[in-house]
Structure formats: structure tokens, C-alpha cells
């Protein structure tokens, strides 16, 4: 049992559920206290000791069903089919009883019958299940990695079980029973039954191998995809991946938040605050029992975001907005603007709606701008310079997201220069590779002198690194 639980823990780990050895041991102890007859309790006991995250419960349930059950039912079903197709007027029970009688009376020599053959004849499914499991283990089925190997491992398992031998034995048995005087109809039925039984075994073994593959691979792809999502370029995301990505962004933001709270606390303690200390200790007769320290305040940055929402960079914009707004409390104030050629403020959207709705609305231009035009960075910056320059002070970080593909319009870099002069710093995120900056209609090179930081930002990993450094 313990071995099986460890194996199960291993499979959970493969699917990304972290199960420590201590937790696996907890589950042994827990099971000792419980009666194992109730499957539900067994399942709950394993879960409570090994799975500690709400969102992992669905995965656990799925794997539990795969691992702990189902195969027996599967076996029963295929054998039910095999034994069901008897010719009319003949019952499988009768047939088997007849065989047993003949064997007992010594009318026919039973010969050497392997365990497998006996299990088949007596329809002993649990013994059969055992045999399949053991053989599969010897065949190394637990090492199966992909679908192409199902055939190979099924064959090996069958070999290990001694399938051919058992088939021969059963056929010989039928022959001997015939000689011993069994009626021709019965013999014919028996032969058919044997064939069907053998076929059922083959199918069951194959099913077992497939389950094993599922077990080993469950969520493996999922995990793989999540990992690669971090690296995958925003340009090449499918609809489905965009949905998945949202969760990943959420999780990254949460992690940064956690780290942030620790960082803040470390920064807090500053010099001794004499005045406060004296005041606080007046009740102790002026004896300084309690010391008060000045709290060093780390300025939370103010953020002004200018986001290009033209279709070419919409995905990048989406995730950056989500990221920044998931971290809202880390900033004193966020004002966000979207532009294609015109520029409009979308800050109110984020106050009224929840994040994902607000983002979708912002990407549509938020009722303030027309998004179906060609990008014109110069025009947008000029507009900002005219109307919103007052939004920037020396504590503000200006975050610009865009590919700087200006469609050969006037870049009006001087607007950015003025923004740069007023702001604490200007950070430009460009989804294009730096080697492409300034080529074709890209005017990145014109803007570059006025950016304190200009980074390539094509995937989530880069994005999270940049956001993190903003907060430091």
C-alpha cells in the first residue's frame, strides 16, 4: 500500500502538485487511523494530507480516479462483453460448470494450466487484474512517455503475462474436452468463448497501457505549456493561450506582491525618533522603555502609462495593463492613456469596471479614440504634451508601450523630450527586437535618447522583470 501511495505522490508531483516526503508520510499515518473501506474517506484523507492548494483539487480528483480505480470496471466491462455473446440456449455458467465437472471427474486431463488461463476460465477478474499489473510492471510500462509506445508496451506486457502459452493451453483444453465427449455445440461455444476472452485480455492490456500513459502525462503538457507561455512571444498567442496567460499574469503579480511586502518592511526601520520616544515614554516617568524609530518611507512610484492599442501590439498591451493593474496598490497613482493616432485617457474605466472588462474596453479605445486608424506616435505624443503634461511630476514614471512603427509620420520626438525632462524616468517597452529598432518605419531611434530605460518586451518573463524593477 505504502509503495502505491508513494507512486501516487510521484504522479501528483509530475502534474505540478508539490508533495513533500513529509506529506506522503502524513498520509500513511492518516490512513492507519481510518478504515479504508469507504473510498470517499480514503480519497479525502489522501487529499487533505498531500494537496494544499484549492486550485489543485480538480487535478487531484482526476488523477485519483485514473490511479486508484476504473481499471477493474474497465476489465469487467470488456469481459462482460466477451462472455455475453453466447449462442442461444447456452449459458456461460452451464458451460463453465460442465468444464469443471469434466476436469474433476478426470474425464479429461487438465494438463498444466497457467495462472492466466485458470483466471480466464474461472472469470477471476481480480486475479486477472493482478496479473496484468504485475506483467505491466515487469514490462516497464510505467516508463511510457508518448502515444507511439502504447503498442510496444502492450505487446511486452502480454509477453510477460505468457499470453501465447495460455492461449495454447486453452485451445488444447478444448481439444481434450472434445475427445472426452463434450457435445459439439458446447465445444464450438467454448472455442468461441476462448477466442473472445483472449481478445478481451488483449484489449484490457492495451487499455491499461493507455491509462498508464495518461497518468504519467496528465498535466505534463499543461505544465510544459505554462512554462513556455512565459517565454512565448506575445505575437503568437492563440485565443486559448490568451485566456491561460491571464492566470499566469495573475500568479506572477501575486508573487511580486508577496516579495514587495517583505521588502517594504525591511526598509521601514530608520533612525531613532527622539521626540516620539520621549512622548511615548512620558507614562514611564520619562524613562525610555520603548524606543520609536523613524519610519523610512519608500516612495511608491506614480505611474503614467501610454499604451499603443493598435492591433499589432494589442496582446502586449493587454498583459501589461493587466500586470500593472494587478499591482495597483504598489503604486500611489496610475493614470493610463491609450493611443493609436489619437490619444485618450482610460483611467476611469479601471475605476468602474473590474480589471479584465476594463482592459477589453481600453483596447477598444474606451470610447475616447478611434482604434481603426494607422499608428502615429508623433501625433499621440503631441496630443499628450498639449493636454496632459501636467499629469507628470518628478515622482512620475512614464511607461510607454509600443513598437514605434510610425507609418512614416513625423515622430515629433521633442514632445517626448519634454516629457522626459519633467518625469522621474521614462521607460519604453518595445515588443520588437532591438536590432529592428530604427529600421523601416520604426522611429525608435529618434525616441531612444529620451528614454531612461528602453527594453525589449516580447514575453511574460521580460515583462515581469521590468515591472519588478519599476517597483524597486
Amino acid at each position: 500500500m505504502e509503495k502505491k501511495i508513494l507512486e501516487f505522490a510521484n504522479i501528483l508531483r509530475k502534474s505540478g502538485i508539490r508533495v513533500s516526503t513529509a506529506e506522503a508520510i502524513d498520509s500513511f499515518v492518516a490512513l492507519e487511523e481510518l478504515s479504508l473501506e469507504d473510498r470517499e474517506i480514503f480519497k479525502d484523507a489522501l487529499r487533505t494530507t498531500m494537496v494544499k492548494r484549492g486550485e489543485e483539487i480538480a487535478t487531484y480528483d482526476h488523477l485519483f480516479d485514473l490511479f486508484w480505480s476504473g481499471f477493474y470496471d474497465n476489465l469487467r466491462e470488456s469481459f462482460g462483453q466477451a462472455t455475453g455473446g453466447m449462442p442461444e440456449g447456452m449459458d456461460i455458467e452451464d458451460l463453465l460448470r460442465a468444464i469443471a465437472q469434466m476436469l474433476q471427474s478426470g474425464a479429461a486431463e487438465s494438463g498444466d494450466i497457467s495462472e492466466l488461463a485458470r483466471a480466464l476460465l474461472t472469470a477471476d477478474l481480480s486475479q486477472l487484474e493482478n496479473l496484468i499489473r504485475m506483467a505491466a510492471e515487469q514490462a516497464g510500462t510505467q516508463r511510457i512517455e508518448n502515444f507511439l509506445q502504447v503498442g510496444f508496451f502492450s505487446r511486452r506486457t502480454l509477453e510477460q503475462m505468457g499470453m501465447e502459452g495460455a492461449a495454447d493451453q486453452l485451445r488444447q483444453l478444448a481439444d481434450r474436452l472434445e475427445q472426452a465427449g463434450m457435445s459439439p455445440e458446447q465445444i464450438q461455444a467454448l472455442r468461441n468463448l476462448i477466442d473472445r476472452l483472449l481478445e478481451a485480455v488483449r484489449r484490457s492490456v492495451r487499455a491499461y497501457t493507455e491509462r498508464e500513459l495518461q497518468k504519467q502525462n496528465h498535466d505534463y503538457m499543461e505544465k510544459f505549456r505554462r512554462e513556455t507561455l512565459l517565454e512565448k512571444s506575445f505575437y503568437h498567442l492563440t485565443e486559448d493561450e490568451i485566456r491561460k496567460m491571464r492566470e499566469v499574469v495573475e500568479r506572477l503579480a501575486q508573487r511580486i506582491k508577496n516579495v514587495l511586502s517583505i521588502r517594504r518592511r525591511r526598509l521601514k526601520r530608520g533612525k531613532l525618533d527622539l521626540r516620539q520616544t520621549l512622548r511615548r515614554n512620558m507614562s514611564h516617568g520619562g524613562i525610555p522603555f520603548e524606543l520609536i524609530f523613524k519610519q523610512r518611507k519608500k516612495d511608491r512610484p506614480k505611474l503614467v502609462i501610454l499604451t499603443d492599442v493598435s492591433s499589432s501590439v494589442a496582446n502586449v498591451s493587454r498583459f501589461m495593463l493587466q500586470f500593472v493593474y494587478s499591482l495597483q496598490e504598489a503604486f500611489t497613482k496610475i493614470r493610463s492613456f491609450v493611443f493609436v493616432a489619437e490619444l485618450g485617457e482610460v483611467t476611469p474605466l479601471f475605476q468602474e469596471k473590474d480589471i479584465s472588462d476594463a482592459i477589453e474596453a481600453a483596447l477598444e479605445g474606451g470610447d475616447t479614440i478611434n482604434v481603426y486608424t494607422r499608428s502615429n506616435f508623433g501625433y499621440a505624443f503631441h496630443h499628450f504634451w498639449q493636454n496632459f503634461l501636467s499629469a507628470i511630476d518628478n515622482k512620475t514614471t512614464v511607461l510607454i508601450l509600443g513598437d514605434a512603427r510610425n507609418n512614416y509620420n513625423d515622430p515629433r520626438a521633442w514632445c517626448l523630450r519634454d516629457i522626459h525632462n519633467k518625469a522621474k524616468n521614462v521607460v519604453w517597452l518595445n515588443p520588437e527586437n532591438p536590432s529592428a529598432w530604427g529600421f523601416g518605419d520604426s522611429v525608435m531611434d529618434k525616441y531612444l535618447p529620451y528614454c531612461d530605460v528602453a527594453e525589449e518586451c516580447r514575453n511574460l518573463r521580460q515583462l515581469s522583470k521590468i515591472v519588478d524593477s519599476l517597483l524597486l
Binding site: T48, I57, Q254, S261
Partner: protein, 331 residues
Amino acid sequence: MSKFESVEQVLEKLSKEHYIADKNIATVVFLADKLEKPVLIEGPAGVGKTELAKVVANATGRRLIRLQCYEGLDEAKALYEWEYSKQLLYTQILKERFTEKMAGAASLRDAAEKVGEEDSVFFSQHFIVPRPLLTAITSDEPQLLLIDEVDKSDPEFEAFLLEVLSDFQVTVPELGTIHAKQRPLVFLTSNNAREMSDALKRRCLHLYIDYPSQELEARILETKVPGVGQLLIQDVVGMMHKLRALDLKKTPSISETLDWARALLALNASDLDEEIVSQTFNVILKYEGDVRKAQAELDKLLQKKAGEAAAKAPGAAATANPAATKKGALH
């Protein structure tokens, strides 16, 4: 206090305390009791996490000690504090005794040593203010320690909890390490405002309480709000489940179901119709936006019921009217 003997017994004892649990909850409670391990309870707000701890305390005859977590909670408020003013007061009162004692001291060093001998007078149990954690550990009687909303506490506090939870001991530098006389049963609840560290999770059993199934919720309603008719129970529970499927800012929970049922009972409603539902939406939905969203879907939410209602329209109308008039009085 007695230990539970089986999962079934847990279910039974909990239901005696009017807490309707499913088998999952019972299994975890049983194991926590048997293995003396803390339980981390997670789940949406208002599904009865804190309630479970209280009920288990009652069922096992343990005293409940509650530690409410919040941002900025530190050891001094959770574990113990030296009572400065009392110490100060005592020094003032005992000043003369000190002078007497010091009279014989030949040198400064001698005097300091003599004072040092009396150290333990001032740093003793006498001057310590035990906070919930220390109380739970030092008590002679069996306790149930409820650490509520642990996700609201700071990561540092969580690290400090680890010592308490794994060994049931705390270290007071002046007094040494104090071991638990009786291992308290520990329940931690979390609303997942922040994910707890793996180290903490490893030491705990984990229980995820989700919104209950329709059948379970109906049973909860039946026990918690006596006097509610079956028809109303079915209506209310059905409606709640449909509401939870909507994309709401705050999904209504069991506590809202109970509040609602009580409100409807007070209004004398025997089943739900459009009028009474829209009048009482503010009991279950806490945001203006949510109410609006639900109002818009109201037809759909009540749709299935239209047929049934038509069948016994006279009865329903008769009860709906007095309810509507009473409603005015309630506001």
C-alpha cells in the same frame, strides 16, 4: 473531552451542534483530532470556516481561543507581552527594599550582582501578559486554537507561527522554551488574500470548503432556520445556485442564504416571486452592480419556476401580498 472514534461519529456530533458537514469535512476533522495536526481551512468567504472551528470546539468540549489576524499583528499581540507598567510600579514600590538589600554591597560590582540575583523576580510569569498563543499552549485544559484569517497577517508572522504549529512550543527568551501541556487542536482559516507559504502548508492538513451542493445547502437551511417551508427552501437554494453561476463581484455564500431565508420568513413568503426577490436582493448581494446584474437576469432566474407558480397561483398571490405590505414596515 473525548477523541472522535470514527468519521461517522464526527458527522453525528457536528450535526448535533447544528453544523451540517459533508464527509470531506468530517474526515479532515477526524484526522486533525487523531494526528494532532493543525488544519488550514480555505474557501470562499461565508461558507462556515470559522463556524466549523467553533462547532468542533463545542463538540469536543474544548475551550475556544481565537486569534484574529490582521496586518501588523506581531508576537507581542499574539504570544505574550511583558507588562512594563506593572514592572515599573513594582520597582517603585520595592525601591526601599532594594536600598536595604544593596546597603551591604561593598562595591558597585557587588551591588550590580545583587540586583542581578533578583532578575527573575521581574521577568517571571507574574509580569507576563499571555496572549492567545501562549494561553493555548500553557493551559491545563484542552483547547481549540482558532487562528482566523491567517492570510491577513504578514509573512513574518507566518514564519513565527511555524514554530508554534510544528512543535507546539514557544520560546520566551527570559523564561526559556515553554512546551504545550496539552496539545491544542489548531484551526487556521484563510480567504486566500495571499497564498500561504509552503512551509506552513506542509505542517497542516488542508481543507477546502466550497459552496455546498444544493442538497446539502437545503439541509443546512432546514437546521439553521427552523420554520422555513420545504417549498421556500427549494426555491431559495435553487436561486442561490443560479446566482453563484453568474459573474458577480461578490458571490453570495451560505451566510447570505441563511440571512435571506430569515428575511423571507419574516416577510411571510412561502415561495419566491419576482416582486419579493427584487425587493430582497440587497440581503444577498452586497454591490450595487451585482444587484443590477441579477435584476437583469431575474426573468431567467425565475423562468423555470413560472410553470409551477401558475399551477398554484391563488395560494402564491395570497401570501405574496401581505409580504409586500410588511416589507414597507421592515425598511
